[in-house]
C-alpha cells in the first residue's frame, strides 16, 4: 500500500468498485513463464455471418461464384470469390465437409454462437454454451502476455443468446464482450494504465493479508492433520496473491511503442474497408508487440442489421444480410460472391502483413507462427452445414498448406443444399456425411501445445490436415 494520500487521489475511480478481481485472470505477468522463451504461437479466428454463395452446377453463376474451389487437393482452382488468395496459394488451406453436428438443423440466424464452441445450443428455449477454442488456448498461454486474448467484432458486446456478437466464450460458457471501437482497442492495448484496477488490486492485497494472518491464527489451533487441509486454502490465497503481484507488474510495465501509420482510429463500419483494415492492423500490432497471442474478430452478426449491414457498402452493395436472400435475383450470386470476395481480400491483406514481417524473436515470418482461420457457420442460405472455412499459416507448428481438403462423404462437389433460398433447406434431412469441425479444433489445439484429445463433444484429431 502506498500511503493514504495516493489513495485519496484515486478516490474518484473507486466508486462502487468491489474487491473481487476481474482483471488478474486476464492481465497477468509472466516474465518467468517457460513458454516465453520459445517462439510464440498465435491463433486468430475471423467469423463472417450469412455464409457464402453456393449455386447449383446447372446455374450459370456456378463457375464463377460458387465459394468452394474446383479440383483436387493440390490442383484446386479458385473461383472469383477466392481468387484474391491466389498469390498466397501456398500459405492457405481450404476445407469442405466440416460442421458442428449438434447445429446441423439449427437455423443459420442462430448458429454463430457455437462456431468456436461446438455446443448444443438448439434453436429456442433455455440456452447454454461452452468454452470456445480460442479461450482454451488463451487459458493455456494467456499468462505469457499482457492480455490473454483480444476479442473484437463490428457490432460489439455480446449480442443475445443465439444472436452472438462475439466468437469467444469463457470456461463457463458465458460470452466475452467484444470490443468494436478502434480507439478503445488501441487505448486498451497500448495506452491506458488502468488506475481503477490498480486501486482495486491494492485493496484486494490488504484483504488477502488479513486472510493470511487470520488463517495462520486458525492454523495454530488445529491438529496437524487438519493443518494439512487448511494448507490448501493458504496455497489458494497465496496463488491469488501471486496473480495480484503479476497483475501489478503489468500495470507497472511500460507499454510497447507501435507504429500507428496504418491505423485510422476513428474509422466506423460504414467506411468498411478502412474499418476492417484498422481492426486487422490492431490485431497485427498486438501480435507483433506480443501483447496477446489470441484474437477473434467477428464481421457483423447473423441476421444483419446494425453495423453489419453497412459492411457491404465497401463494394457498393445494399445491406449485407439481404444479399443472401436475393441470390435468385439478377446478379444475385455475383453480388453475394463479390461481398464474400471483399471479406477475403481484407483477410489476405492481413495475411500479407504477417508474412512480410519477420518474427521479432526468432527466425522466419510471423505468419509461419500464426494459425489464422476465416469462416462461417453456414454455407448455403441459412444452412448450418458444410462450413466454408479457410486457414493460413502455422507452418512452424505443423501445418502444411497449399491444399484443398475435402472431408466427409457424399458431397464432394458441394452440391448438398446448393441453390436454396427458402427455409425448407436448413430444416431438411442431413443426407451427406460431414465430420465434426471440433476435430479440426483438437488438431489446432494440439499443435498450439495444448494437451487435449477432445473438444466440444468431439474426440480425436482431423486426419490429413
Amino acid at each position: 500500500m502506498s500511503g493514504k494520500n495516493a489513495l485519496w487521489k484515486r478516490r474518484e475511480f473507486l466508486q462502487g468498485a468491489g474487491i473481487a478481481l476481474s482483471l488478474p485472470w486476464l492481465e497477468t505477468y509472466a516474465k518467468e513463464h517457460p513458454e516465453q522463451s520459445v517462439t510464440p504461437r498465435r491463433f486468430v479466428s475471423i467469423y463472417h455471418p450469412d455464409g457464402v454463395g453456393l449455386p447449383l452446377k446447372t446455374d450459370p453463376a456456378w463457375k464463377d461464384w460458387s465459394w468452394f474451389p474446383r479440383g483436387g487437393e493440390r490442383d484446386f482452382e479458385l473461383t472469383k470469390v477466392l481468387d484474391v488468395l491466389e498469390p498466397l496459394r501456398s500459405e492457405i488451406s481450404i476445407y469442405s465437409g466440416l460442421s458442428h453436428p449438434a447445429a446441423r438443423n439449427v437455423h443459420g440466424h442462430s448458429n454463430a454462437d457455437q462456431y468456436l464452441t461446438g455446443a448444443t445450443i438448439g434453436g429456442n428455449g433455455p440456452y447454454k454454451n461452452s468454452v470456445s477454442v480460442d479461450q482454451v488456448y488463451a487459458m493455456h498461454i494467456g499468462e505469457a502476455t499482457r492480455h490473454a486474448s483480444l476479442v473484437l467484432s463490428t457490432n460489439g458486446g455480446i449480442g443475445g443468446p443465439r444472436g452472438a456478437q462475439t466468437q469467444s466464450f469463457n470456461s463457463q460458457g458465458r460470452p466475452i464482450p467484444a470490443m468494436n471501437k478502434p480507439k478503445e482497442v488501441f487505448d486498451m492495448l497500448f495506452v491506458t494504465s488502468n488506475k481503477d484496477a490498480a486501486a482495486r488490486l491494492a485493496r484486494s492485497k490488504s484483504a488477502l493479508d488479513l486472510l493470511i494472518a487470520n488463517t495462520k491464527a486458525l492454523n495454530r489451533e488445529l491438529s496437524s492433520h487438519d493443518q494439512q487441509t487448511l494448507q490448501q486454502y493458504l496455497d489458494a490465497v497465496r496463488d491469488t496473491e501471486l496473480k495480484l503481484t503479476k497483475a501489478q507488474k503489468w500495470i507497472d510495465t511500460p507499454f510497447p511503442t507501435v507504429d500507428t501509420k496504418f491505423l485510422t482510429l476513428d474509422a466506423e463500419p460504414k467506411e468498411a474497408r478502412l474499418y476492417f483494415q484498422t481492426m486487422y492492423e490492431l490485431i497485427y500490432l498486438a501480435f507483433l508487440s506480443d501483447t496477446t497471442r489470441v484474437a477473434t474478430f467477428q464481421l457483423g452478426r447473423e441476421n444483419g442489421e446494425g453495423p453489419h449491414d453497412l459492411l457491404s457498402l465497401a463494394v457498393g452493395l445494399g445491406p449485407a444480410h439481404g444479399l443472401t436472400h436475393a441470390v435468385k435475383q439478377p446478379d444475385g450470386w455475383k453480388n453475394l460472391g463479390t461481398y464474400n470476395r471483399y471479406q477475403v481480400e481484407e483477410f489476405s491483406r492481413f495475411l500479407h502483413r504477417l508474412k512480410d514481417t519477420s518474427e521479432p524473436s526468432a527466425d522466419g515470418n510471423m505468419l509461419d507462427n500464426t494459425f489464422a482461420m476465416h469462416g462461417s457457420a453456414s454455407s448455403s442460405f441459412h444452412l448450418s452445414r458444410n462450413y466454408p472455412i479457410l486457414s493460413a499459416g502455422g507452418k512452424n507448428f505443423g501445418f502444411s498448406n497449399g491444399r484443398y481438403l475435402k472431408f466427409g462423404r457424399g458431397n464432394e462437389d458441394n452440391q448438398a443444399g446448393a441453390g436454396i433460398d427458402t427455409d425448407s433447406g436448413w430444416q431438411g434431412k442431413v443426407e451427406v456425411e460431414e465430420l465434426p469441425l471440433s476435430q479440426l479444433f483438437v488438431t489446432v489445439l494440439q499443435r498450439l501445445g495444448v494437451e487435449t484429445d477432445s473438444f466440444g463433444g468431439a474426440t480425436g484429431t482431423l486426419t490429413g490436415v
Binding site: 478481481l21 433455455p126 443475445g160 487470520n214 489451533e221 491438529s223 487441509t229
Partner: protein, 893 residues
Amino acid sequence: MQSAGLLLWMLVLFAASLRSSEGSDPETPSTPDPRKADTLESARVSGRTNSRLLGQSDLAKNTTTNSASVTPSSEIPEANLADFRQLISPILNQSCLPCHGPHRSEGRLRIDELSPDLVNGSDSERWREVYNAVGNSEMPPEDDPACQLNDKDRASIVDWISQEMSKAPIAIRDKTQPSSFRRMTNYEYRNALEDLLSVSLSTANRLPQEIASEDGFKNSSTLLQMSAMQFETHRDIGLDALHRAIVFGNRPEPVRYRISMLDQIEKPSASKKKAKNSEFFDKDDNDYEKKRRGRVLLNLETGQGLPFQEGSASPIADAIGEGFGDPSAVVLVVPASNEVKWNLDRFLPDEGIMRVTIRAGRSNSNVEQHAALRLIFSAHTSNDANFSQVISQRDIPIKASVDKPECISFDIQLQDIQRNPFRKLSTTFPRRDEFLSIRNVSNAKGQEDPLCVWINDIEIIAPYYENWPPKSHTDIFIPSSSVSDQAVYGREVLSKFLRRAWRRSVSPTELEPFMDLLAKYRAELPSFEAAMTEVLAAALASPEFLYITQRNTSSENDSAPQTISPIELASRLSFFLWSSIPDETLLDLAEQGSLSDPAVLAQQVDRMLADPRSSRLADTFVPQWLGIDGLDSVTHITDGSLKESMRDEPIAFFKEVLSSNSSCLDFIHSPYVVINETLANHYRIAGVRGPEFRKVAVETSVHRGGILTNAAILAMNSDGKDSHPLKRGVWMLKRILQDPPPPPPPNVPEVDLTDPEILKMSLKERIVDHRNKPACLSCHSKIDPWGIAFENFDAMGKYRTEIQGLQVDAKSLLFNKQELDGIEGLKRYLLLNRQDQLCRAMVDKLCGYALGRPMSSADRTQVDRITLAFRKQDDRLGDLIQLIVSSNLFKSR
C-alpha cells in the same frame, strides 16, 4: 430358456465353490425358506427374529467390544495370505514363473517377488497389471503350451486379486484417518449465505462441481478441495450476496405494471396482434361453451368474450399503493397447458427482486382437477433468434374459487435470469422488448369441464422491497445508539456479523485487523456502509466461514479420543440437519454450555427437525445416498415433469418415514407409496390428483412400496432402451447393502451383437454368456442376481410381465444358492435374512453424512453400538437421528 437356467445354475455353483468363505449368509442361523413366508410384512416380522445382532445382545451382553461383524465391510481388512499360499502361489509358479521368475523376468516382472499383501504391501499396482493381463486372457501367451492356464485356475487368480484389491481402499482410508474438518460444500455455502444474509442466491455453475465419495457423498472432507479459482469465486459470490443484502442511498423508485383485464377488454387494440382475431363472441354463439374455455378475455356478467393473443403493458406513472381494488367481472381465461404472454417492453431494472402478483381463481371446484401457475421469461431478438426460460422456482397452485379470487406472488431476482441484452439499445433492432408468460400447469386437459385459471389482475413491481431499508440490511447495520461513532459502531456491526458467520463469538483482539481494514477502505470508499461491505466480504472469504472448524483442545500426543467443543457441536448439528450454519438459539445454548446436556440436545434436534430448514436433510442426503444424479446421465426420460417427479419421489418417501418416525425397513418395502399424480399415472395407481406428494396405501399387486421400486432408481439404472441388470445389481450392493463390488477391469469384452447365436438370446441369457468368461465371472456372480430380480421393471421403471413376447424371467440365484424370485422374492429375502446388514448400512451412511467423512474401521465399535440401539428401537429413522446426535461418535473430532 431351460438350458440357460441350467448354465446359470452351474455357473453359480462354480462361483460359490470358489468362495468357500462366503458360502452362507452372515446372519440366518437356520436359513428359512423365503417362499414360506406369506407376506412381506410377515417376512419382516420373522426376519427380525433372525437378527444375529439382536440375538447376540440378548445372549452375550458382556461382549461389548468384540461383537461379531454385521457386514463384510465392517471387518478390518486383512490380506488373505492363506489362500495365496494354498491356492494362488502354486498356479503362479507353474504358469508364470518360467518367464517372470529368477531365470527370465519379462517386462521386469518377478512374480515370485511380488508381495502377496495387497492391503499393506507395496506391489498393488503390479498386481493390478497381473489382474488385467490374466483376466483378459492376454497372459500366459497362447503360443506357449508349457504355461497354459485352465479356466478354473484363471478364475481363481482373478478372483483372489479382485478381492484383495477391494480391501485396499478401506485400509488406506484407515491409514489416513479422515477428519471432519472440511470446507463447506457448494450447497452448504449457498444455504449458509442465504440464511446469514436473508437473500436469495443463484450460485449455479459458478463454483466447480463437487466430487462424490465412493459412498456417493459430496460432503466428504478429503474430497472438498480448495484452489485459487475456487477461492476467488467464493470472494465474488460473497460480495455479490452482500450487495443483495445491503442497500445504499434512498429507496429506488420501482417500475410498476398493473394489468386489469377490464382495461384489456375495453381497449382490445392493445391486447391483440391480428385484427381478424379481435371479434367478440357471446352467449348466442353456437360453440360458446367451447369458446369461453379457450384463451380469451371473458366478461363473467355479460358473457361476452374476446380471444386473447398476446398482451402488452407499460409501466404506470402514478405511485399509488400496492394491491388491487375489488375484482372486476372481466377475467383472462388460461386453459390447461396454455400460456398468456405479456410484452413488458424494456423497462425492467437490471437488478433487484421483481415481484409478480396475480389475482386469480378456479373456473370450477372439481377436486379431481388442479391448476398451478408458472412464470416464463423470454425475448425474441430477431426472427429465428429467441430464448425463453422458466424463472419461477416452483409452481404456485390456484385454489380459490372464482367469486373469491386470491393473490399469489412470485419473487424473481432479476440479475439471476437471462435478460434481453439489447434492451438498452437506442435503435429498435434487434428487438429490445422482454416478455413475461404465465403458464397454467394442470391435469385438466381433455376433461369434460376442464378447469381453467381465471386471472383478474396482474401486478409487477421491480425492484420490490417489503420494507426500506430491508431486513437484510438492518440485520447487518443494526440499530444502535452509537451509530454516529464509527469506531464503536463498526465493532458492534462486526462482532454481531462475525458471530453468525463464524459460528462463534469473536474476541476484541480478533476484531482489530478488521477495524484496521475498515479504516483503510473507509478512506477510499464513499460511505461507511460501502467500506463495511468490503470488510464483511473479507470475513466471508475467511476459512472461519468457509470451513467447518474443529479446534484442538488437547495436546497432539494425547491419544484419548477427543471431543469437539459445544460451539462446534452446534455447527455440526446444523450442518447435519440444515446443511447450513446454526441459528442464534443454537449458538446461545452452546455458549451457555447447556447444549451438552442430553435432554437439551434431544430437544434441539426435535426443534430443528420441525423447522422448514430440515427439509434440506432429505433434499441433500437422499440424492447423494441413492445416487439420484444418475438420472442426469440417461437420456430416455423425455417427459420433464415425470423426470422431476421421479427425482423427488425418494426424497418425499424419506421425509414421510422421518416425520412419522417409521422403520427404515420401509425403504425395502412398505404397504404404501409416497407419490403425486404424475407418478400415480406412471405406476397405474388410481385416485391420486395433484402435483404434491402424499402417502398412498397400495396393494402388493401393484409391485410398489419402499424405494427399490422407485421409478428414478429403475430408470437411471437402465441403458436408455432397456433395463440394465448389472447397473441395478451394482446399485443394490453399493447403495443398499453397503457391500460394493470391485471396479470392473479395463477392456471389458463387449457382448458381440453381430454374433447370430448371441442375437437369439434373451438379455438374461446374454448376461450368463458374458459371465462365462473367467475375467468376468468372479464379480458378476456377486452382482447379477440382484439386478436380474428387477427384470419385471423396464427402462422407465414400469412393471411388465413380458419382454418382446417372452415372459419375463426375473428369477436368479445368489452364489449362496438362495433364490430371488423377482422383486417380491428379493424384498422377502432381504427382510428375512439381511435386516442387520440393511440397518447397519443405513447407520453407516447417515453417520458418514453427519460427520462429513467416511466411516473407518476405527469407528466400527461406535457404529455397531448405534446400530444395536437402533435395531432395539425398531429401526425407526427419527430415533436414529437422535441416536447419532447423542452418540460419542457425533461428538468426536
